[in-house]
Symmetry: C2
Subunit: 211 residues, 2 copies
């Protein structure tokens, strides 16, 4: 497994030109989204929503707001990762309720855990809370990219798009979410010369310190 | 591979009690850190440092600043993920220089890409830049957790520790970095009852929207 993961991550690159004729199966897409759903997040609160774009007209509208980056239009599928805008005691209560139901533990026994979470949430300004929730969505992006690579699926993590336009087109604001990153997924085109470029990474000794 | 990834992510949990008698091999730890090193980041700038704690005294000092959470002390290994504090044109230039060297492309041909990155960096306030770099480190955390799970290695992603103390003990500030998250890695203890708890996640239909 060791070599498999490293090989997959070395094979991975930010795919700029996708093969428009190759589509991912429903099963593949479901697996990627399910892996994201299973991602870790602080306290397990999962302050995110993953949007799978299926409607071609919507896809075209999003493409128009992605600074001409054709992979947004041409990849087999497009995933938008959004973070929650607000988080309050009600969200924590719902989470604790689900935990109580699914684990068969009385809510009273989870009171300490709940209090800790509520205390944390209340200690933060609205901006800090948003920033904290946004960070969690990047864990899901890491999960997506690693999972895709292990499945020989290409992807391109992106921050460069018009978030306001995306939120409007997808109706995210009304749902209480804001788009953070997007990720076209599918298969690289043989015409994507960047696939053969050497991956540029810090040498191990520079990226890692041993103390 | 599909089922392997999902099975691994379902097996994964935030390990609270590690088996102190079971140690990861150097190869395993190197693979995990190398996977992190290969993580995606915005523009590929890798605004991070990964610190592997090997010195037992340092580990003990860190434990004292982790609110009594014994997994910080007891796990086979401890990784600290830090983000860069400052990022300026010099960092971008160094990155472009490496790209030029390793790909054999004249720096002049990378000028457009460089200008775009420098423009992005200069358009941000120091705080926004830090927040943006911090987010990138969460991708590496996602890579770490997914990779560890695929390798049957346990882990516990953590934000709850005294960052100021950690930075001081590890001398990170002088290096231009600030700790963001930590992750004890190793093997779960048979005494960790939380290992058998049902994982609490939003149902697929709630985590994912299809549009």
């Amino acid at each position: 497994m060791t070599n498999n993961v490293i090989k997959a991550l070395e094979w991975r690159y930010a795919t700029k030109i996708f093969d428009t004729s190759k589509k991912l199966s429903d099963d593949q897409v479901h697996t990627l989204l399910d892996a994201m759903r299973l991602s870790a997040s602080s306290f397990g609160l999962q302050p995110w929503k993953f949007i799978l774009i299926k409607n071609p007209q919507v896809r075209e509208e999003l493409f128009k707001n992605a600074f001409g980056q054709i992979h947004v239009r041409d990849a087999s599928h497009l995933i938008v990762i959004a973070s929650k805008i607000d988080l309050d005691e009600n969200d924590v209560s719902a989470y604790v309720k689900q935990m109580s139901d699914e684990r068969g533990v009385p809510v009273e026994m989870l009171q300490g855990y709940k209090d800790m979470m509520v205390g944390f949430v209340k200690s933060k300004s609205k901006e800090d809370l948003q920033s904290w929730m946004q960070k969690q969505t990047y864990i899901a992006m890491g999960t997506l990219l690693t999972t895709a690579a292990m499945m020989d699926i290409d992807a391109c993590p992106m921050e460069g798009f018009d978030r306001v336009a995306f939120d409007k087109i997808l109706g995210l604001t009304e749902l209480g979410f804001a788009s953070q990153t997007i990720c076209p997924i599918g298969y690289r085109s043989s015409e994507d010369q960047t696939a053969s470029y050497k991956k540029i990474r810090m040498p191990f000794e520079q990226a890692v310190i041993e103390i």
